[in-house]
């Protein structure tokens, strides 16, 4: 087995990162997740998978909430100082992978996607923290790290409310794609 691909773009230097850049990056991470959930929701609406689509739409709102909270914090601390980090510096930190979506996926499966994404994000912050020296930045990432754990609990709680998984959840009985 070979090594896992690196999950952060090489252009981000976490060791020397300022708090402003760290918050801005966190904003972008939430933004990326929000946009991805939005895309996945759109895909599933197009492919008539409403339960999962509704859940992903809910995730859009949650990620947007996180983003606006972070933005608020940023505004308080740094006003309208220019943003110097770019969305292109990060890849799929908290955003689910594209191949997580499936036509006819159940709500439980959708929740599992969210859970995996929160786990992925948690892993990311843990790995980043290993390199961060700046105490303010450390504190921010630690907070975020904890939040990811909290989110995981929330998703799990949500899952517990669902009826238990059916025996045929993984079977796709839908029509194949329309031929062209």
């Amino acid at each position: 087995m070979t090594k896992q691909p690196v999950q952060q773009a090489p252009s981000v230097n976490f060791e020397a990162m300022t708090l402003k850049d760290a918050i801005d990056l966190a904003v972008l991470i939430e933004e990326e997740a929000r946009d991805r959930y939005e895309e996945l929701a759109a895909q599933l609406i197009l492919h008539r998978t409403p339960a999962a689509a509704n859940f992903f739409t809910k995730m859009v709102r949650i990620e947007e909430l996180h983003r606006s909270q972070l933005l608020e914090q940023r505004r308080k601390q740094f006003g309208d100082q220019p943003v110097t980090v770019r969305r292109e510096m990060i890849f799929d930190v908290e955003a689910p992978d594209y191949d997580e979506a499936r036509m006819n996926m159940t709500q439980r499966q959708a929740l599992e996607v969210a859970l995996r994404s929160e786990q992925k994000a948690h892993k990311f912050f843990v790995s980043v923290l290993a390199n961060v020296q700046n105490p303010e930045v450390r504190r921010l990432f630690e907070e975020l790290c904890d939040e990811e754990l909290e989110h995981q609990q929330l998703v799990k709680a949500e899952m517990a409310k669902l009826p238990p998984p059916g025996p045929h959840d993984h079977v796709d009985v839908g029509d194949g794609p329309a031929p062209q």
């Binding site: 070979t2 292109e88 594209y98 979506a101 499936r102 194949g176 794609p177 062209q180």
Partner: protein, 290 residues
């Protein structure tokens, strides 16, 4: 005042992809947006040409000029575009069937003409759009609707083909490694000549389980980590032979001394010949009997 730098979202069109949820092409599209943003050419200076197939739908999902042509003919059409306006950034895309079956005859010629085009093949080893038939890159023995008893033929090896044709830039990527893929696409576009990226882009609907992104994530081996020297053409060919068994990602070969492109030579010729031009309304004088 300089315009703010372009972002990935500036290349994203309003059209919603019709791909199956989970299709590898979503990731490819995302990687492409990133590569384009990083290069920074405004969308109206980009021409994006494709054939027919699920993957060939991709130009419509960008804000660039797009031409979703007919099955297998994207390369010749792209060459006409490039020669007519060499200033454009021309990207060509399509599937494994589009590029290596019906369009296979065009590939060596596109390569040997060496125009500054970037050719992205979304290789899913199957015909997606027509619902799961055998493709030229399907492994031998694969059972599909047109090979219900297993295919009897060996697949072609796109990497080895391209290297043998003399392609100056040959790489392989997978959306399982998004940063790596985006960087490769960018590198390919920046290469001054014909460049090729074989993107292992899984088909969730008709593809094999062991060809999905989850599997890619555990299988992929970056060539960089193997210490491969991308200027070594023979080493590249040796590695490329493992297509279908190993999932190498990264640059197999990049010509360290790119020769002049076709369009550059055309420009020189046009400049040199322009002196000899008769006024256009006197073209018939060439046939005048004195």
């Amino acid at each position: 005042m300089t315009a703010p730098p372009l972002q990935a979202k500036d290349y994203k069109s309003e059209l919603k992809p019709i791909w199956c949820p989970g299709c590898g092409d979503f990731g490819v599209l995302q990687g492409l947006y990133r590569a384009l943003a990083s290069i920074g050419r405004p969308p109206h200076e980009v021409a994006f040409i494709s054939g027919i197939g699920c993957s060939s739908r991709i130009p419509g999902y960008t804000t660039a000029y797009g031409f979703n042509t007919v099955h297998g003919r994207s390369l010749p059409i792209a060459q006409g575009v490039k020669l007519s306006n060499p200033e454009l950034l021309v990207v060509v895309a399509g599937g494994d069937g589009d590029g290596f079956s019906i369009g296979g005859g065009h590939v060596p010629h596109a390569v040997r003409r060496n125009m500054d085009l970037t050719y992205l093949v979304m290789d899913n080893q199957v015909y997606g759009l027509t619902k799961g038939q055998l493709s030229p890159t399907s492994p031998k023995g694969l059972e599909t609707v047109t090979s219900p008893l297993g295919s009897l033929e060996d697949p072609i090896n796109p990497l080895l083909y391209m290297l043998a044709y003399g392609c100056g830039f040959v790489a392989q990527a997978t959306p399982a490694d998004m940063p790596g893929m985006a960087a490769l696409i960018e590198d390919a576009i920046r290469y001054p000549g014909f460049s090729f990226v074989n993107i292992q882009s899984p088909c969730v609907t008709f593809g094999e389980e062991d060809q999905q992104l989850k599997a890619h994530k555990t299988k992929l081996k970056p060539l960089e980590s193997l210490g491969h020297d991308p200027t070594d053409q023979l080493a590249a060919m040796d590695l490329a032979r493992a297509y279908g068994t190993e999932l190498y990602t990264g640059v197999f070969y990049k010509n360290p001394k790119p020769p002049p492109t076709y369009e550059a030579l055309v420009k020189l010729r046009q400049a040199e010949q322009a002196k000899k031009a008769r006024p256009r309304d006197r073209v018939l004088d060439a046939y005048l009997q004195k």
